[in-house]
Symmetry: C2
DNA sequence: ATCGATTAAGTACGACCGTTCGTGCCGAGA
DNA sequence: TCTCGGCACGAACGGTCGTACTTAATCGAT
């Protein structure tokens, strides 16, 4: 009865506390990385923050780069939970686009990470450091922009947005507003950039929606 | 006869090669800081890059923080030369606004710094590290946004832009396009984000110019 | 020509970096 | 119950960090 596992199964299951520590480590790592950078964050300080020894923490990952990659994945899950998930149930592409932008602004304003959006913060640190870490960050970025682009195209197919508009251009402008909102919010911790981004996106979508003649 | 100095004046002028070294150090420091960060850049590597000893370089500044502050000032001068100066002779606020945006995009595309705009790169690193370095970066940022804002207000006074528009909102949207153009250019090294930003800004300015009725 | 100030290098320091190793603890499968 | 492997620990490694002292070379004005 107990030997139902076929194929390559791990003989001994991992202990539960190991996974719990790993989660706690990565959660703290993602938070600290937005302040000190994913390279700037040292294993010693991370260990101290989670209350365990440097070597004990290190054993979970084997190298700093593996820790960084795992941290990115953990941050990705947090991002999906806060931004992507609430938008996934939208009935239309137009509504999904709105929810994605709104979800991102909420995610910033809610201080999910102390240093603002994890990916904005960490990618700007690693953009000139080639390697697996940068690659994974770029892959995330591509996915995220793809989500915006897809929602816009859907909205165009629905007739909610002017089909004559370039989806990539609208994506750029929306992402620009979100990106700057994040940067300014981290510096000033005021809701003003959030509001400005909201307004900019609203205006841009309105302009793409009410364009009765395909002018370009 | 030669003792004209009253009060506390430096009796002996500084040597010329000292100033030359200092300039070379700061130029390289500004470049490297856009790649490795202004904290991530170490004195040892900087010394190696300029071809002098760690202690010899260090003696110029006395502390890393002083080096960082001097680096920011040096980068500021480069920024002024590339972006602010070409726009300063504009006959109108409207034209100056256009030249500021264009100058910034050129400054990015010309790879003045290997890691993109110095201030975008370094401020995102220091935004959560309070202290004199962050303060000076924020001061620069305030000045820069003030330049955009002033040009917009002038353009409104000239009648080139709709006086009903909120200057701070237009500033935000233009800065957003420039900011994202820089970030994406560093990652992809393609002119596409530059073009998208140009188009976004052009459209935004056109929208603010052709608004015949003060709607908001 | 000389003297003093300036520039740079040499050396050393304590702290921290990422990493390795040996050693126990403890919980779960037998 | 016994055992064994996941888990965490402390100590230590070589290396690099920022910084402090000391010393040699070199220019400028007397």
């Amino acid at each position: 009865m107990t030997e139902e596992r076929s194929g390559a199964a791990k003989v001994r299951a991992t202990r539960s506390d190991g996974a719990r520590s790993r989660t706690a480590i990565l959660s703290e790592a993602a938070r600290l990385a937005t302040m000190d950078g994913i390279d700037g964050l040292s294993i010693g300080r991370l260990a101290q923050a989670v209350g365990m020894s440097k070597s004990g923490l290190f054993a979970h990952f084997g190298s700093k780069e593996e820790l960084q990659l795992a941290t990115i994945d953990a941050a990705n899950e947090i991002f999906e939970r806060h931004v992507l998930a609430p938008a996934s149930a939208a009935p239309t592409g137009f509504e999904r686009l709105r929810l994605l932008a709104e979800g991102y602004l909420d995610y910033i304003e809610a201080d999910v990470f102390p240093g603002g959006c994890f990916f904005a913060s960490v990618l700007s640190e690693m953009d000139t450091h080639p390697g697996p870490v940068r690659d994974r960050l770029v892959r995330f970025l591509t996915d995220w922009l793809g989500q915006l682009d897809a929602a816009i195209r859907e909205a165009q197919a629905e007739g909610a947005l002017d089909a004559g508009e370039d989806p990539a251009q609208i994506t750029f402008e929306i992402e620009a507003a979100l990106f700057l909102a994040n940067a300014q919010f981290v510096v000033a911790h005021t809701s003003e950039p959030i509001e400005r981004a909201r307004r900019a996106i609203m205006l841009r979508i309105a302009a793409a929606a009410t364009s009765t003649e395909g002018s370009a």
